[in-house]
């Protein structure tokens, strides 16, 4: 049973937590965010956010996990229940199950794309077919249709899920830890090879129109005036928040398998900084420099204008690798292999909380619990695959992968500092510590970190149209009101930006708005179901003990 499970080695634990944090966003999102939000100047609010919000939140989550683990809990509801006397505490932990399950559904799908691309790179598909033609066909996207049943994408999705379930069923030390010990060094190794090869590109090489250094300059040229723009700070805080995988309920779960006096301060800091190394050093040195070398700066600027490098990574890079001759298939396999390892070490962390919950509360054997995770992920994932063209995937990403995370993290930070109490909290963080945690963090964790997360939350809730906070605030003071961005939480709820809101068109065909509303209803129903499960579980537990 889970209570007897422990991590095999400390290195394995740190690599597993770092692997949880390192995801596709480190390579695809960070460089685009930095380039579009002040270049090198972006790193100032980014590192400030890391020190005042990211790192403290890591310590908080590790402390919550190790504390609750001593009472036999290993998933968020039970771990939060042990933070105070309130019966409501465990219900905040519902997020720790709901978020992991729903994010895993679409995240494993993206992960499976990376695995499929490794295969197609090796067999030379992209030497004959452009990824811009390949990708829509692979996803089964047809103009005008909201549905897709793509056989190949489903095949790779099943392979990926099978791999996740198999690794999870092997347990902490023999499964997750081993996968991290293999995956993380390979990921870093692949990244270094690609970065060196990419940064050596100069005009004169076949197909190169601009030096790769111009791309590096695009990411790093500091535009200091951007520091006065609130959007830059919110973008930096958001990037730090999402890159560390905080607020998901997976870190608290991993930390729950530690002994009472085992270090958490150094483990958390080490895993957090390792994520920063992969993101800032490797993440900025591959995608944009290589793309700039072959496409030129203007095209890369346009391609990353939305703050994401996803299109460059999946649609452009495979073609550009063709300029590398015999090395092209290997380069493609390294790039997508790197993304796959980044993905799988994260999706494993999404599976563990449900397994822990089933083991702790219902004594379900690990293999069966892993299969349950696989089955639920397949069901929800199929929904994303099937309704991908209609926008179901994006809805999952927004409500689970963005909004729910921030709500949960805000709750955790407040409960830790104000319900559990900073006196006990500080003792929890520093007990058995193999590094001296500066005392200033006691103040930071109590006041600054919750305030920082609250700002990220408000930023997502009321983001103004065009992301222009200055114009929105002046509009508010001049009486013209506040116009919400379509991708703000309120904008989403109000269907802002949708000119013609209806579920069916004149021909009686479903519209994307119907898909969005069905997806939101599904997510709400799932959240309600998770809440009921927690209520039922605790009632059952109380009856047993009385």
């Amino acid at each position: 049973m889970s209570t007897s499970q422990r991590w095999g080695t400390r290195i394995g634990l740190v690599l597993a937590v770092a692997g949880n944090a390192v995801g596709l966003g480190n390579f695809l999102r960070f460089p685009a965010q930095a380039a579009q939000n002040g270049g090198g100047a972006f790193l100032i609010p980014y590192l400030v956010s890391f020190l005042l919000m990211g790192l403290p939140l890591l310590w908080v989550e590790w402390a919550i996990g190790r504390h609750g683990g001593q009472f036999g809990h290993h998933s968020a509801p039970g771990l939060l229940d042990r933070m105070g006397k309130g019966r409501w505490l465990k219900y905040l932990g519902v997020f720790g199950l709901f978020t992991n399950l729903t994010v895993a559904a679409y995240y494993c799908y993206i992960e499976s794309w990376a695995l499929a691309y490794v295969w197609h790179s090796l067999v030379g598909t992209f030497q004959a077919t452009s990824p811009t033609e390949f990708f829509p066909a692979y996803l089964g996207v047809h103009a005008g249709s909201l549905f897709a049943v793509p056989p190949e994408a489903l095949f790779w999705f099943l392979v990926t899920l099978g791999l996740n379930v198999w690794i999870l069923s092997r347990g902490l030390a023999g499964g997750i830890e081993l996968a991290a010990k293999i995956g993380m060094p390979l990921l870093i190794g692949f990244g270094i090879v690609l970065a060196i090869k990419g940064l050596m590109l100069t005009p004169g090489d076949p197909g190169v129109v601009q030096s790769a250094a111009s791309g590096l300059n695009f990411v790093w040229q500091p535009k200091l005036d951007s520091l006065t723009n609130p959007s830059t700070w919110l973008a930096a805080a958001g990037q730090v928040f999402f890159t560390l995988s905080v607020g998901t309920g997976s870190i608290v779960c991993y930390a729950a398998y530690l002994r009472r006096d085992e270090d958490i301060a150094l483990n958390a800091a080490s895993a957090g900084w390792m994520n920063e190394f992969v993101e800032v050093v490797l993440g900025s040195a591959i995608l944009i420099p290589i793309a700039t070398a072959y496409l030129g700066l203007a095209a890369v600027t346009a391609a990353t204008s939305g703050g994401s490098g996803f299109g460059l990574g999946f649609l452009t890079l495979p073609t550009l690798f063709n300029n590398w001759g015999w090395f092209a298939p290997i380069a493609g396999a390294l790039w997508f292999g790197l993304l796959f390892f980044a993905g799988i070490t994260s999706s494993l962390a999404m599976g563990q909380p449900l397994i822990s919950f089933m083991e702790d509360e219902y004594q379900v054997p690990r293999k069966r619990a892993a299969a349950l995770f696989g089955g639920l992920t397949l069901l929800l994932g199929f929904f994303c695959v099937w309704l991908y063209p209609g926008g179901a995937f994006d809805e999952f990403d927004f409500w689970s992968g963005t909004f729910a995370l921030v709500v949960f993290a805000l709750g955790e930070a407040i409960i830790f500092a104000w319900v559990f109490g900073m006196e006990r909290g500080w003792e929890e963080i520093t007990r058995g510590a193999d590094m001296a945690v500066p005392r200033i963090f006691r103040f930071v964790i109590k006041y600054v970190t919750p305030a920082f997360i609250l700002l990220v939350f408000l930023g997502a809730l009321i983001k103004p149209a065009g992301g222009d906070w200055g114009a929105a605030l002046s509009g508010l003071s001049s009486g013209t009101g506040w116009s919400f961005a379509p991708d703000s939480v309120i904008g989403k709820v109000l269907h802002t930006g949708v000119d013609d809101y209806r579920w069916f068109d004149e021909a009686g065909r479903a519209t994307p708005e119907l898909v969005k509303d069905i997806t939101r209803t599904l997510l709400l129903a799932l959240f309600a179901a998770c809440t009921w499960v927690i209520w039922y579980t605790w009632r059952r537990r109380e009856r047993k003990s009385s």
Binding site: R10, I11, V14, L216, P222, L266, N267, S270, V281, D434
Partner: protein
Amino acid sequence: MTTSAWWMLGITWTIITIITARLFWKVLRSQGKKSADD
């Protein structure tokens, strides 16, 4: 690359690499100690 971009990149990469290496080295060293104790 411009000088300011080089400075920004150089300083950031150096700080992050040194801190990461130091912390990871501490983890490695303490793991060795723990194994010896066990």
